[in-house]
């Protein structure tokens, strides 16, 4: 089992994430989604990855997939500045609370989502939210796009150094386009 970067997130249980080392393999998984959703957390506003911010990588992934966007915390402002109008601006626990309900209408009112990707949350907070979904939302798959092992996600990246993460996301985006 992969140990998360931050030990606060060590799994106390048996059902942990599958770490997807190959970005193209992750691309295949998320491409299959019928109603994907990308959830943005505030940390992606501060992480610079070369010329771009992490949030911009997330937007590219969402665009490539035609995924709905949920802006949590105060990420909506930056997304608007980037010319992206999020489909919803729930806070993280609110969107997670909705996702638990298989009959929820989803942020686009077209039905609940089947694959939910998370980018830019505090890892401890994010892992807690993923725990809720692991236990209470068996109808959906969760994917984390941050460079950390998230044991409660369905699919997670490995613990990656900044340059490897950038490379991973770039290959992932290419594989989606």
């Amino acid at each position: 089992m992969s140990i998360p970067l931050h030990h606060v997130n060590v799994l106390t249980g048996l059902k942990g994430c599958r770490v997807i080392e190959d970005p193209q393999a992750l691309g295949k998984i998320i491409k299959k989604a019928e109603r994907p959703l990308v959830v943005f957390g505030p940390r992606c506003l501060d992480i610079a990855m070369g010329e771009k911010l992490a949030v911009q990588y997330g937007v590219e992934i969402a665009k490539a997939l035609g995924a709905a966007i949920c802006a949590t915390a105060h990420t909506k402002k930056k997304l608007l500045e980037l010319g992206v109008v999020p489909d919803s601006a729930y806070d993280a626990v609110e969107i997670i609370n909705h996702l638990k309900d298989p009959n929820w209408k989803g942020v686009k009112k077209q039905g609940n989502h089947d694959v939910v990707m998370f980018l830019g949350m505090r890892t401890d907070f994010g892992n807690q939210g993923l725990s809720t979904l692991k236990h209470y939302a068996p109808h959906l798959k969760t994917v984390t796009l941050c460079p950390y092992v998230y044991p409660h996600a369905s699919f997670s990246l490995a613990n990656l150094k900044a340059d490897k993460w950038k490379e991973y996301l770039e290959i992932l985006i290419n594989s989606l386009n």
Binding site: L5, H6, H7, V8, L11, T12, G13, L14, K15, G41, P42, A71, T72, A73, H74, K76, K77, L80, E81, S88, A89, D91, A92, V93, E94, I96, N97, H98, D101, W104, M121, R122, T123, D124, F125, Q128, G129, S131, T132, K134, H135, Y136, P138
Partner: protein
């Protein structure tokens, strides 16, 4: 078991039923399930949201049991039941900590002053104990009556603990109902504790403008003998201060404290100094500035004997809750104990308040003699950081996910900016240092990066005055004071400690009433503006629009919730006596109060928050609190927002999610501010009040989110609610989302929306 005649007679005796200060309501001294129907009504809208921290249960020898998904444990419990059980256990731990604290204080003060010592909170506070009045039906008059309150809490705790045992409760909603009950009892315990110490130690009361006290580790004059009290119980410090005063040596020593004992010390003597909140405990104790450490109870590090030894500080433990394996010398003569400490270098446990206080006063000048107290210089820090290999192991164990390795490597190069930033965000756990295989003393290095500035804090003032409630009652209920913002709790902050001052100031400037307590009250004082002023210098200390006040330590939190109860009583004339459901319903629907526990970590904070929730007060928590694993959330579009219009006696679907949640975690300061502004909205707001609340909500949302709120349509009932400044764009927006006017209410209440013994008449005054 339901109450039989003899039990009712016993209750009547306890609450002196024959006293007719108010009619006795339906629930005097309620037992664990007596308010269950109210809880279930709340939980219908604000459903428990669980985020399990552990998938396994290991409570009994059938386990470990994996509770993932649909799995049940060997006892039959499922993951939700288990989370509910955790919630109840947290609430019980928190309530017990306050209850035992109150018990210590009350027993000590009864020894000192007798059971008949009168409760007198001064000319401004006639409704002395809204919680005890409302929950128990007792109007406490003496210390002996406060003892009755604690006995009642103690009885409640035993049933609560029992329910957590194997093969007892299994349903999550029933666990939550019990947690809510225990949370309610916690406020009774806190109220009893704070009233007892206020009358027993003559803390300020009935005064709004209490003095300012010095705050910050930089405020300590280390050339003097320094004693540092750590914990929550100021009893020993009061005796020690008296001794110094009597001996005429008080100005030759520094009495300091960390956490709530420090706050209460300043209420006893404003010459005492507050080092800072819990998060600075390890940092300060490692400096060795304290010649003597006195520990009492709650939030005290478990390794203080080691820390004291390493820093060369003497140690006296004073609580049976934290005995550290030390020799109990309570039975020995004072001179003998002084000798043991000063000559043998012994760390001791003294379980007698008076003796501990006198010993402390006697040993302080002796143990301080000749001690060198030097703060680590930048040169020294650079040297200490030299061993760092940037392995990043420290980063991995940091519970605040901080970039420690980055900061240490910069120090290696003689740069301190990152380290200063790290210190501002550090919650003081010491795990980084422990993990470092190279032995880099990270916390010690922080001494060279920390600011050694002096700040100030308003001395805790105790209860809100009845006359203040009379003045603000109407504006609060009508909504023209946009809300009461209570910033409370511990210092497990996600980011810089300064965020607390920033949040408080944002609301004070907007003319909310800002009330602080405990570590949050300290943190709020730890930021200065360009003119060197803290928030306590800038805002008036009144319970009024734009006021910023500190009620006191953790146990004084009961005065904040008590203020909301007093609004129902003093302004709305609802009787408090044994009338919990009516009062809670009033607060939920009509008093725009919201709590913020931005750095909550403790079980006490959980229990306080849960008590607020039963009383209808929503609480916003910082991201660490996701690890409490339970929230109370609604789903605004999906849930039923029907209330009874008490005057028309009609059920009305308001379609308005107010307050939207009872307990929510948010991730950033910006979101916290927006959420708090929104959670102040109440169904009872007049059009003028709603305009004002929406004005703040919209302006804050625009500032931090860059647009109009996307749920604005939920809170505009008709045109009159729309703030004038935003009229045009709001009207356009409402049109675009197909908004329609909502029914108007004359008196919103949940009574009548669920099965209850309370007649609707009870809420109409």
């Amino acid at each position: 078991m339901s109450k039989g005649q003899s039990k009712q007679e016993e209750i009547n005796k306890t609450i002196r039923a024959e006293d007719n200060w108010e009619p006795i309501g339906p629930t005097s001294m309620p037992e664990m399930s007596d308010l269950r129907r109210w809880d279930m009504r709340l939980l219908k809208t604000y459903k428990p949201f669980y985020a399990p921290f552990c998938d396994l249960c290991c409570f009994c020898t059938y386990g470990k049991c994996d509770l993932t998904g649909d799995n049940k444990g060997a006892c039959g419990i499922n993951i939700s039941g288990q989370q509910g059980r955790w919630a109840l256990m947290f609430a019980l731990m928190g309530c017990s900590a306050h209850g035992a604290h109150a018990r210590h204080l009350i027993d000590y003060l009864i020894e000192k002053h007798g059971e008949n010592h009168k409760i007198d909170l001064g000319g401004q506070v006639a409704v002395e104990a809204p919680h005890i009045r409302t929950v128990m039906g007792l109007k406490p008059e003496t210390l002996g009556d406060l003892k009755k309150a604690i006995e009642y809490v103690e009885k409640g705790i035993i049933h609560g603990v029992s329910a957590t045992h194997f093969g007892q409760e299994g349903n999550e909603l029933d666990f939550e109902s019990k947690s809510l009950h225990i949370g309610m009892l916690d406020h009774v315990a806190m109220e009893a504790a704070d009233i007892a110490q206020t009358i027993g130690f003559k803390f300020p009361t009935s005064v709004a403008e209490t003095p300012l006290a010095a705050l910050g580790w930089g405020a300590v004059d280390k050339s003097k003998p320094v004693v540092t009290c750590v914990g929550h119980n100021a009893a020993v410090a009061t005796v020690m201060i008296d001794y110094f005063m009597k001996a005429g040596t008080y100005d030759q020593v520094e009495v300091t404290g960390i956490c709530c004992t420090a706050i209460d010390n300043t209420r006893y003597s404003d010459k005492t100094k507050i080092i800072g909140p819990l998060s600075k405990q390890l940092f300060f104790l490692k400096t060795g500035i304290a010649d003597l450490i006195i520990t009492d109870e709650q939030c005290v590090r478990c390794d203080i004997p080691d820390l004291a030894r390493a820093s060369g500080s003497a140690l006296i433990a004073t609580s049976d809750k934290i005995s550290y394996g030390l020799d109990d010398v309570t039975h020995k003569e004072i001179d003998e104990i002084v000798r043991m400490i000063t000559q043998e270098g012994k760390q001791v446990l003294i379980r007698d308040v008076d003796k501990a206080g006198e010993v402390a006063a006697k040993v302080l000048p002796i143990v301080a003699k000749g001690r060198k107290k030097e703060i680590v210089t930048k040169e020294k820090a650079t040297e200490l950081a030299d061993a760092c290999k940037k392995c990043m192991l420290c980063d991995r164990v940091c519970p605040n996910l901080l970039d420690i390795s980055g900061a240490v490597s910069e120090v290696k190069e003689g740069k301190f900016e990152k380290m200063a930033d790290l210190f501002a965000k550090c919650i003081g756990c010491g795990k980084c240092e422990q993990e470092c295989a190279k032995g880099v003393p990270i916390i010690t290095i922080m001494q060279a990066a920390a600011s050694w500035d002096t700040f100030n804090i308003r001395v805790g003032r105790g209860p809100i005055h009845d006359v203040e409630i009379r003045k603000v009652g109407a504006p609060i209920v009508l909504g023209t004071i946009p809300g009461i913002i209570a910033i409370v709790g511990c210092s497990n902050y996600p980011e810089e400690i300064e965020e607390i001052a920033e949040i408080a100031e944002e609301f004070a400037k907007r003319k909310y009433i800002v009330v602080l307590s405990g570590c949050a009250a300290m943190a709020a004082g730890m930021k200065k503006d360009a003119e060197g002023k803290t928030i306590y210098d800038k805002f008036k200390p009144d319970f009024d629009a734009g006021g910023v006040l500190n009620v006191g330590s953790c146990v004084a939190n009961a005065h904040i919730t008590g203020a909301a109860m007093k609004v129902a009583n003093i302004f709305a004339k609802l009787p408090l006596r044994a009338n919990y459901e009516v009062i809670a319903d009033y607060i939920l629907n009509r008093v725009g109060a919201v709590g913020l526990a931005w750095g909550a970590y403790s079980q006490k904070a959980f229990s306080i928050g849960t008590g607020c929730n039963r009383l209808g007060i929503p609480v916003v928590l910082g991201p660490h609190s996701a690890k409490y694993r339970r929230l109370y959330l609604s789903r605004k579009e999906e849930d039923d927002w029907t209330v009874m219009d008490g005057r028309k006696r009609e059920l009305i679907n308001t379609e308005e999610p107010s307050p939207e949640h009872l307990s929510i975690v948010v991730e950033s300061k910006e979101r916290a501010i927006i959420t708090m502004a929104k959670l102040c909205i109440r169904k009872n707001d007049t059009a003028q009040g709603r305009q004002l609340k929406l004005n703040h909500y919209i302006s804050l949302y625009k500032q931090h989110m860059g647009s109009l709120p996307d749920d604005l349509q939920n809170f505009v009932r008709n045109d009159k609610d729309i703030p004038i400044v935003y009229k045009k764009e709001v009207v356009e927006y409402l049109k675009s989302v197909g908004w329609h006017p909502k029914p108007l209410l004359t008196l919103p209440t949940l009574i009548g929306t669920y099965e209850s013994n309370i007649p609707i008449d009870a809420v109409v005054k």
